[in-house]
Structures are given as structure tokens and as C-alpha cells.
Symmetry: C2
Subunit: 333 residues, 2 copies
DNA sequence: TTGTAAGCGTTATCAT
DNA sequence: ATGATAACGCTTACAA
């Protein structure tokens, strides 16, 4: 691989001049510029990013930390963040910590040692460690999907209260009054917010998610199934269920279909996220849309803004959800 | 951030000695080693990977090239390759080329400029470019999922003929004789191999996938739906369908369920891959298992072996598929 | 066993 | 506008 030295020699200039042509920092004589550019072409020269990153302390690299990858939410984050990152001339390095704080730590460590320009976290296995990272190294950090609750971290989050409200409002307007909810882990605040939003909407219809009609799941398919089992065994009068993600909604559907309940004739089911599966199952799933692409673009934007602007180090961006009606919901007769 | 110089100073040794302690290359006096290690702890020193990679020409980095990310197959590859790569002390940089050769090229370019230790391709948008890469740079390359057909590239692939054979053998033993197949794009050789394997098994049962009972899909959900529509409108006598991936199998199921055919009572449906969705839908899907984890581990292994051993530059590893019976298939009455 | 010094491929600070 | 030169943080001959 040709280096700057080779280019300089061939173009009969100094390495500094080659650098100047490359970075267009200072004006260069039109004639020498052309000579340099010719040499670059001829040698098929490409600047080495390690040398560049070492010298300039900017690896042109963004790190993304997730707890797993084979999962629609995180795969979406990876995809859209990769796109935004590349659009800004950086590359993406992905780390999967599997909820293991040690793995997470060594991954963060690796990123620091590569002079990354910033780190995006979606979920965190050890919150205090991340805070320490931010305070000790000054590396730009953005948190998405409410990975960290602290005020001092920049973040991009969905308006989860609104997400719940949308679901409740839609089901309420559909005539439903006996509505159950399969939540995510209630120790996660976004789950509580979604539930609050749902209840706020239902109150307006004199409906309500009674304590007994709430099941606390874990965002996995199986917990949707179990939740439906528990809810419908005790309360067969329920006419609609909102699950706080699509995976659990599909679990709810599976239970209902296995037990001879027709969807949406007997029971309406609604989800959240709008993963691709939502269109594929039968009946297709009415769901609240989480605009992954928008979230990711904002996150990368916010991250890179921190280089210049210290105010954005604690900025918070809120994204509004939408929803889509498909076959799994109907008016309550 | 402390550098080697700081450590050297604090430990009263030269930088080379610090390096020796770190890399355990040459024996170091027990006493000085301790001094150095103390200094490292005290300063919380972490070696900079850019400097290291620049000097040693090894970025401790593996590149993975995929056409998309929000897709079970590629997400699986990313997840398992990330794990294998990290287990070997490297990090993973992911690039999504969206079937755009220019994007792919600039991504490969970026990897080269980072002194990557190797690149894994799953699908390729411009095959000749990849070959040129290999020949011109000598960077280790491994191809998975039959991304490139050339003989000169190391690869890890599933035994696709066997995959088809497993499906045919299972359905044949289940008494089915009128079996349809929704294939992937037949210009892709692995799809033809899967079909050949299927037919070979069926021949033994005096069954066969007639020309009219084959539909060429594109691995997407929608094409499964369309395929079923086409196949069953013309040939309602079909009793079983094998789709060459789970997504299309789910599409087939959706069509059948929408049209009042019971699965598996009227029609058996079988897929391939064993994506998580296969367990979630109702009825759950009988399918051929693609052992993603094994494939990825082998790929990383093969890649890193190329550093030392030139024979492995064209080595081919074949992985055997398995299959799992769930609810979507039954004996043919 | 340890130190010295050159070099990996850039950028940035001086001069000129 | 251009060139020397030092520096980024590390590895590796070569000496001692």
C-alpha cells in the first residue's frame, strides 16, 4: 500500500503538501494540486485511518453498545445507526454485552482505546460504569431507548406516555371498555409511562385497566402467551389487549388462537413497535409505531454535535410515536 | 489518557520494557515486571489500539459485510460473528451495502485503511470487486452463505443439497406425494441445490416436485404468499409445501389460513432456517435448521487461520443442517 | 535482562 | 504557497 511519502516523492512535493491537498485545509497552488492528485490516482493511494486517527485523536469511528443483536429492536438500531454514521464519514463498531457488565466494560474499553468519536448506548448492563466513562474520558455519549435514567446524559427517547395514550384512545374509540395490558418489566420507567398513558386515555372513556387486568411481562414472546393465559383464565370478559411490544402481542395472539378465541371478532389485540412480523402474521397486527429510523438519525446527530457544543451533552430529544391499524383489532359489539 | 511514556517514567524503565511486560514477548525480570504493572494500575493505563495497529499492521479488527441488517439471517450472522471475533481479542465493524456496489466499495476501502485483519462477506453486490480486493491486498477473506461462487475464496457454507433432502425425506415419510416448493431466486446456486436435494429425496417415494408445483420466490414473506396463491389456485391437490426459507413459509401459511385451508390438516408447510418467528406463529413451523452459530464460528476461525497458513485461503468448510418438527406438518391421510 | 533509536503514516507548527 | 520537523503511541531490531 502506497503511503503519503510515495505520493510526495512521485509528485515532487513534501508530505505536508500532500496532506494539504487531501484535507483542503489551506490553499494549494493549482498546478501542484494537480500533480499531487495525479500521483494519488497513479499509486491508488488511500490515507491510512489508523495513522490519521492516532494523530488527530479522532478515529472516525462510532461505537454502538447493545445487549443483543438477533432482536428486531436492536437490529433496527444497528441498521439505521450504521446508515447515519456512514453518511457522516465514520464507521460503526458494534458491541453486544449480553447483559454482562464485564463484557460491556471491556467493550467500552476497546472503544476508548480506538479513539472513537462517540458511543451510543441502547440498554446498559451497568449504569454507574457508563456514567464513570462519561465523566472520566469526556467521550461524547448518547443514550437511546432510555438506556440510562440520569439527567446528565444526552438522550433520544420515544414519547412513551403518548404511545400508551394512542393505544388507549384507539381502543376506547373502538368501543372497548374491558381492556387488558401486558406490560414490559415495570422497573423500567418507560413501561410505567406507557401504562400511565394508556390509563389516561381509557379514563376518558370511563374504562380502565384494572389492577387484575395488567400482566407484567418481559418483552419476550413467551411472556405474552403466559400473560394472555393468566388474564383470560381469570377474566374471560376482556375484549381487548394492548401489549407493550409486538413480540408479546404475538404471544397473546398465539394463546387466543390456540384457545378458540377469534381475533378480532372475540378479542382485539394491539402491539407496539411495528416490527416486520406485525404484517406477516394472521391476522396482521394493529400496532403503535416506533420510528426507529428517526430515533437513530437524531442520536447520531446529537452525538456528533457534542464535539463542538457542550450544551448538547445533556440534551434530550423526544420522538413522537404513530400507529397503524391492521386486522387484529375491530369495533367492540 | 496515560501513555506508555508515562508508565515508563513512573516505573523507571524504558518504553520497550513496558511493551515487553504488556505483550509477554520476551522474559522480563520479576522485579521490574512488578514495578511496571504497578505503574500501569496506578495510571489506569490502556494501550492505544490505533498506535498498536499502525505499527504492527494489525488493527485487531474484523470487517463484516452484509446487504442489510434488519433481517433474521444477517442479524444472526452479526451476533455470532461478533461473539467469535471478541473471543479472539478483536472487534467487529459492520457494513451494510444495501446491494449498492459503490457503498460496498467504499466500505471495503475503509476497512483496508484501518488495517483490518480480515473481512467476512455474506452476500456481495459486486463479485469482481471482492476478487480484486483479495488479489491486490492479500487481506484474508472468508465468504459465508455462498456469497461468492469462485473457487479461489475460502468459504463456510451449509450443505444445501442435504437441506433439501431432509425436507423431502421428512415429507415423503409423512405420506405426502403431491409436494410443492417455493424456492429462492434460482440464479442463486444454493437455491438450485436445495431443490435438487428435495427432488432427490422425493424420487425415492415416487413423488416429485413437478415443474408446475415450483414457484420461484425471492426469500421475502410476500413471495411466499404469492407463491401459495399461484400454486394452490392451479393445483388444489397439493398436500405439502416446502419453502426455502421461513419467511416465505410464513407467507405460504398466511395465504392458506386466509383461504380457509387448515394447517396441517389440509396442507403441511415446512420452512428453512429456524428463525425465532418459527416458534411464534400459530401453528408453529416445522423447519430445516441452519446452524448460524456454527457457521460463524467456523468463519472467524478460518479467517484468522489465514494469517499463518496460506492453504486455508481457499479452504471450504461445509456445515450439515438439521431439522425440527413442530405443528405445521402432519401425516398425509 | 534492559535501553536506544528508528519507524508505522499521518497532522500541525514553524519557518521560508 | 511550500518544506522541515516534531509529534501521536506503540513495536522491534540492534546494542549493551
Amino acid at each position: 500500500m502506497a503511503s503519503m511519502k510515495d505520493v510526495a516523492r512521485l509528485a515532487c512535493v513534501s508530505e505536508s503538501t500532500v496532506s494539504r491537498v487531501l484535507n483542503q485545509s489551506v490553499p494549494v497552488d493549482e498546478d501542484t494540486r494537480r500533480r499531487v492528485e495525479d500521483a494519488i490516482k497513479r499509486l491508488n493511494y488511500r490515507p491510512n485511518l489508523l495513522a490519521k486517527g492516532l494523530r488527530s485523536r479522532s478515529g472516525k469511528l462510532i461505537g454502538l453498545v447493545v445487549p443483543e443483536i438477533v432482536h428486531h429492536t436492536f437490529a433496527s438500531f444497528i441498521q439505521f445507526i450504521e446508515e447515519s454514521v456512514v453518511a457522516r464519514g465514520c464507521s460503526l463498531i458494534v458491541g453486544n454485552h449480553k447483559n454482562n457488565p464485564d463484557l460491556e466494560e471491556s467493550f467500552i474499553d476497546d472503544l476508548i482505546r480506538r479513539n472513537v468519536d462517540g458511543i451510543i448506548f441502547s440498554r446498559v448492563s451497568d449504569e454507574s460504569r457508563v456514567m464513570r466513562l462519561i465523566n472520566e474520558t469526556g467521550i461524547p455519549v448518547v443514550v437511546i431507548d432510555r438506556a440510562v435514567e440520569k439527567e446528565e446524559v444526552a438522550s433520544v427517547v420515544l414519547d412513551n406516555h403518548q404511545a400508551g395514550f394512542l393505544a388507549g384512545d384507539y381502543l376506547g374509540k373502538g368501543g372497548h371498555r374491558k381492556i387488558a395490558c401486558v406490560t414490559g418489566p415495570l422497573k423500567i420507567s418507560l413501561c410505567r409511562e406507557r401504562l400511565t398513558g394508556l390509563n389516561e386515555a381509557l379514563t376518558r372513556f370511563q374504562a380502565g385497566v384494572a389492577q387484575d387486568w395488567t400482566y407484567e411481562g418481559d418483552f419476550k414472546f413467551e411472556s405474552g402467551y403466559l400473560g394472555a393465559q393468566k388474564l383470560f383464565s381469570a377474566h374471560p370478559e376482556i375484549t381487548a389487549v394492548w401489549a407493550q411490544n409486538d413480540l408479546m402481542a404475538v404471544g397473546v395472539m398465539k394463546y387466543l388462537l390456540e384457545n378458540g378465541r377469534s381475533i378480532p371478532r372475540d378479542v382485539s389485540v394491539m402491539g407496539m413497535d411495528d416490527i416486520s412480523l406485525a404484517r406477516m402474521i394472521t391476522p396482521s397486527l394493529t400496532t403503535v409505531i416506533q420510528p426507529f429510523s428517526e430515533i437513530c438519525e437524531e442520536a447520531v446527530d446529537l452525538l456528533l454535535r457534542q464535539k463542538n457544543n457542550d450544551g448538547s451533552r445533556t440534551e434530550k430529544v423526544v420522538i413522537k410515536p404513530d400507529f397503524v391499524v391492521r386486522e387484529s383489532t375491530a369495533f367492540c359489539s
